[in-house]
Symmetry: C2
Subunit: 428 residues, 2 copies
Amino acid sequence: MPNNFLKIFFQYVAPEDAVERILGSSDICPRIEVIDSLESLGRVIAEDIPSPFSIPKEDVSHFDGYAVKSSDTVNASTVNPVKLKIAGRIESIIEHDLSIGDKEAVYVVTGVKIPRNADAVIPVERTRLIGDYIEILEPCKKGDNITFKGADIAEGDIILKKGSIIRPQDIKYLLEIRKFKIKVYAKPRISLIAVGDELTENLDELTHKKLETSTKLVANYIKELGGIPKIMGVVPDDPEHIIKAVKNSLEDSDICVTIGGISLGVRDLCWRTLSKHPESIPIARGLRIQPGRATSIVVFSKKPVVMLPGHVQSTICGTIYILIPLIYYMSGLSARKILPTIPAEIGEDIVVKEYKSFKRIRFVKLVKQKEKFIANLLMGDSSMLSPILKSDGFIEIPEGVERIEKGSHVDVHILSWSQLLQTFLKES
Amino acid sequence: MPNNFLKIFFQYVAPEDAVERILGSSDICPRIEVIDSLESLGRVIAEDIPSPFSIPKEDVSHFDGYAVKSSDTVNASTVNPVKLKIAGRIESIIEHDLSIGDKEAVYVVTGVKIPRNADAVIPVERTRLIGDYIEILEPCKKGDNITFKGADIAEGDIILKKGSIIRPQDIKYLLEIRKFKIKVYAKPRISLIAVGDELTENLDELTHKKLETSTKLVANYIKELGGIPKIMGVVPDDPEHIIKAVKNSLEDSDICVTIGGISLGVRDLCWRTLSKHPESIPIARGLRIQPGRATSIVVFSKKPVVMLPGHVQSTICGTIYILIPLIYYMSGLSARKILPTIPAEIGEDIVVKEYKSFKRIRFVKLVKQKEKFIANLLMGDSSMLSPILKSDGFIEIPEGVERIEKGSHVDVHILSWSQLLQTFLKES
């Protein structure tokens, strides 16, 4: 439970409510752009895409082989092979009007239209070639090795819908249906400002300053989640500098993120400065998440400014609960989602009494045990990086919950593809 | 079960054995390169990285606040505040040699060294400033809000190990320990050749040819899994052209992939041509996977040439079981792994009698049901794209298994991050 001192300064808002307020008070919205389908991996489709034709377009052969009448093969056996005359060869994907008669076969390659009257294809390796004839050693059934018109995809089917994320197989499909350009949602542009007199990007200043690294952390999460980060550097704890940097960064960004200077120290000027500015609509002074509870938000000139705390775990939690939904929203996805999860069992009893009305986030390490994952808590205060370095993901302890018993189900949230691969590939 | 015809032509090899044979017969091996840590997201570390110092380097304040002797605050209460004299201020991360005496406090910002004799920090918002004094309204405990030297990471700790995949948090850590350059494994370069008279990349030829799309499919999987694909175009079903294209592509690639022309039709010349070439060591004519059983491999001039079948599901399965382990191996990871999995329950009884000594791969759709995923099979022959377009991943039916009962545990393999996000974000 936050103590009374904190309550005076913070009005903690549920992160979902903060996201809703941002969407209601700002101008941000998904933007559409047209790109080459070939370059669309990972993008989100902004249109429903009906198949312009059936796939396959007609009944086609599944193999290189002989198109036959299945009825001709009924009595075929090794002892008593059936002999069929080769009445033609279709060796490439051409329009044709061939048909077969009784006891005839036509050679077809994979993907060509089945000749009229044929109702099965026998793969070439199951036939014996004797001059102009083939011998068939076993009966085939009607429809064998034929892929019928539209069996894969019917004309007009909408397999790719607005809001789908484009995967490798989707790109193949787009090319197959000759959809070479596609409407997708533009990637949100997010600028990142580090705030703090104590920070520097200059290696010569490291004797008396700390190297600024938090914007790089958040930038890489943004990249993996489909945004375009832009690192704007360090600004000092000074109201004028802060306002100038935010204004400047919003000129070509959809969202501005500041990191640091958001708590209650004398130098923590971000909220005080930005929330009182005439162009600003205050959205949240503090969030009901822990770590990350100092995360604060204003809408400034109609664009969101997300102020993240500087302690690393707090920075990450603010990113997860505010930035990710905003990135998703601008990408044409649901702003109510955060990250993919893996089901697991909690490895030990957890008792978390503090901040009971908050979502409490805890980083965990996964251990595979037979068919399931066990999630073990990694301890360390919010300034510590090692729990995150050692973690495979995090769990949420929901509002109101004080205790999670060993063996309970938990959803472990995965922050990135690099994380997921790491988790799976390290298992021995 | 493969019929006798197929057994004459194919000598099916278990995919794991094929991978071992490739590694034993070729020159491929992980290559190391040095890159900027800032550019290392998703790369695999090629060195153990011990922390060059403790983090934090000394006992530091977790908040902006006042460093105090906790013993001075024992009797503090709202009714009876303890008054401490402000003996100094440390407002930036500087070296200092301050100490405090009894009933004294020193203002410290987050991250600065705790003055000598102080043993706790009281956050500024929990104090009341009165001239040169502060009032404390509740007792604090020894160690409160101090992060002790090395509490996060001890000097010499190897948090980042050889073989780890670099995630956003790892980049932050590398910068924190001033490791700005890092040894990583080079990305494997993989060239892709489509083989087939019926294929074209030229849109003007689509009246009598099929648009080549398979190399783009595999290229995007390679990209998501950390390789560098290079699409070399289409070659006709002609031995000389095939040899020339393979030689040419291997000049600046580690692995060559051909797609198509690998079955048993008259135009299927890849195996026949490449396996008999004097520079070639045959590795596998066929794999014990279905779809994908025609996948064949030679080592040519000491480099692997992976010949994938052209039917889309077969292409993907060959990619998963041969290409991915090779990409992992060259990336410094385990060649015994394929893809991350999500645990699920199978949604229906599955009976698969054919190809019983093979690994059978089936594409599935996931449905979330309370805390677990149900995996439902998507049907369609190996030439069909729609099962893959509709799928969230695939399951393996292991060698020898004929039947999986409804409700059994299955591991659902996830092919890409775009796939995983798609799976999670589409849930309502």
